[in-house]
């Protein structure tokens, strides 16, 4: 545990010293300011014109907030992939890891310590950007999503999944390759979610099975759906199901139900297994 804490602290200190944290913070503030300004304009115009009820405005804001959340989820996914991808590979390529691993620490300590440090960073980033954005929107429009904490938790979960996967790749592949693979699979996972919804509407059995399987293999999209559900007011869910009927779940920005508990347990187990695989993969390779 002592070694894991040392490596985790080192990882956080590295992100701070190399200005990654500060760049992320600055970009987050800029993003929140710009998107809040956009929401403020939309809400003000709608209220000035007086042709939309307050409920309609709140529904509109909730949908804009989901799109903003998607932007943050994308940025967070990229951040997680590109923090995780060099986490082991870069130290091995540069030789920094050799001096550390000749000390009386386990290689698993290095992998888990790195993971813990990066998880702290991505969760802090998700929480900061999520709460700032939701707070700003609340101030502007009076709308607060039904489950803000759950939304941030799902957003963080998605980032942790990608981070862990990038780290597993990083124990064997060069940093750039790990990052690229992770980003491509993140995109494919999102598309799988869309295909699963569309496939269900068209009753395309094999497509649904393949799409569902890939969503379980990389649970990032399933967690993204959790973020959406946590941001949706009940009126939107009822409305979408009325208007969209069976086609509604095909919309990648709509979730009629929260992720089932089995899926959440699976996601936690998935992270544990992939992190363990990363530790074992690092332990078994020659340096």
């Amino acid at each position: 545990m002592r070694a894991i804490a040392i490596i985790a602290r080192l990882t956080i200190a590295e992100a701070a010293r190399r200005r990654i944290l500060w760049v992320l913070l600055a970009l987050t503030l800029i993003s929140v300011l710009l998107t809040s300004w956009g929401v403020e304009r939309l809400v003000s115009i709608a209220r000035e014109r007086g042709n939309a009820s307050e409920i309609e405005i709140q529904v509109g804001v909730s949908q804009v907030l989901i799109l903003i959340a998607f932007m943050f989820s994308f940025v967070l996914a990229m951040t997680a992939a590109f923090l995780g991808a060099p986490s082991i590979a870069a130290d091995l390529e540069s030789g920094v890891a050799h001096a550390m691993l000749a000390r009386p620490i386990r290689r698993a300590d290095l992998a888990v310590g790195r993971w813990v440090g990066l998880v702290v960073i991505v969760i802090a980033y998700a929480a900061l950007s999520g709460f700032l954005e939701m707070g700003a929107v609340r101030l502007i429009s009076g709308y607060l999503p039904p489950q803000p904490l759950a939304a941030v938790a799902f957003l963080s979960g998605q980032a942790v999944v990608l981070l862990t996967f990038a780290m597993l790749l990083s124990t064997r592949l060069p940093a750039i390759a790990s990052g690229a693979v992770c980003v491509v699979l993140f995109g494919l996972g999102w598309m799988a979610g869309v295909f699963a919804g569309v496939g269900r509407f068209f009753d395309a059995g094999p497509l649904v099975v393949a799409a569902e399987a890939s969503r379980w293999l990389l649970p990032s999209d399933g967690l993204w759906r959790g973020t959406i559900f946590a941001l949706e007011p009940a009126v939107v869910i009822a409305g979408m199901e009325t208007v969209g009927g069976p086609a509604a779940p095909a919309n990648p920005f709509f979730a009629p139900t929260p992720p089932p508990i089995e899926f959440l347990l699976w996601s936690v187990g998935w992270v544990v297994v992939v992190l363990t695989a990363a530790a074992v993969s690092l332990a078994r390779r020659d340096l």
Partner: protein, 307 residues
């Protein structure tokens, strides 16, 4: 006899189809500076990685500090300067050493090693608060030495410790290595810089193509001492008289070589020549160098490695 610090038997390492190490049988005794020599690609760094547990042997066996190769507890008493001496470029020199002090203490004990002392010993005391990314290669190598010497390890493994250093830096490293030995450490010095090894090591092993070609005490390996003199105006009988000092060979231009001489008697040879009326123009004492031996064993094909 004390237990060996390093003891390996037929250690082998295969990467895919390539044999990096075929048969490393080595014994390094406590308190000695052991030179591990070989041309580039001979298997030196692979051997070091096996000893430290950074890579796994595919054959043979061995112990380091009495424990199996790669043993975590034993690594607390090992200081290591890797060939690719790179440290976190965003940390300050002092922080790098402190980090290693904490990592070392993971296996027990306090992380209160003398951080300032080791930085002082390698000449980095006045740069302790500078960021490592701004260091020259030579300074990074000095930092690596500080990290390796941290906490007074029982075994110090130095993989090419002087490759980035200027002559002054190399002399400093020799002093540092001798001090560490005098403080009780055993040193494994992995190098292809033969003159460095010759100056500082007690024993050496020469490896090539993954095998030990020769090993032993430096005196035994380098053979007999000899002296070369350029002498004129010396009668043939008086030249023959010099045979009492060793085996005599006469060369061109007045050069005489006496092999097998006790180095302490070289002044007597000069006195004898001068006493017999001869004029001494030059005296060169020495013996076959490590480079001679290395080139003989490894062959001229690897000559680029012999510095």
């Amino acid at each position: 006899m004390a237990d060996p610090v390093i003891d390996t038997h037929g250690l082998a390492k295969r990467y895919g189809r390539t044999d990096a190490l075929i048969d490393l049988t080595l014994r390094v005794e406590p308190g000695e500076i052991f030179g591990f020599l070989g041309p580039n690609g001979a298997g030196k760094t692979t051997a070091v990685k096996l000893l430290l547990g950074l890579a796994r042997a595919t054959g043979g066996s061995g112990t380091v500090l009495g424990a199996p190769l790669g043993d975590r507890g034993a690594r607390r008493d090992i200081g290591y300067l890797p060939e690719l001496f790179r440290y976190q470029p965003w940390l300050r020199a002092r922080e790098v050493v402190e980090l290693h002090a904490r990592l070392r203490a993971v296996a027990g004990g306090e992380a209160t090693s003398d951080v300032g002392g080791v930085l002082e010993a390698v000449g980095l005391a006045d740069r302790a608060d500078d960021v490592v990314g701004g260091f020259s290669k030579g300074m990074q190598q000095r930092l690596g030495l500080a990290v390796a010497l941290l906490g007074g390890p029982r075994l110090v493994v130095l993989d090419e410790p002087t490759s980035a250093l200027d002559p002054v830096g190399r002399a400093d490293v020799r002093t540092i290595v001798r001090r560490a030995r005098d403080a009780g450490a055993t040193i494994l010095l992995n190098s292809h810089l033969l003159t460095e090894v010759e100056r500082v090591c007690d024993r050496v092993a020469i490896v090539d193509h993954g095998r030990v070609l020769a090993s032993g005490r430096m005196d035994d390996l380098l053979g007999e001492a000899r002296v070369r003199l350029r002498v004129t105006d010396l009668a043939a009988a008086d030249v023959a008289e010099l045979r009492r000092f060793g085996r005599l060979a006469a060369g061109e231009d007045g050069w005489l070589t006496i092999t097998g001489i006790d180095p302490a008697r070289i002044p007597d040879v000069v006195a004898s020549v001068v006493g017999a009326g001869g004029r001494v123009h030059a005296v060169e004492s020495g013996r076959s160098t490590l480079e001679d031996l290395f080139m003989r064993l490894v062959g001229s094909g690897s000559g680029e490695a012999a510095a």
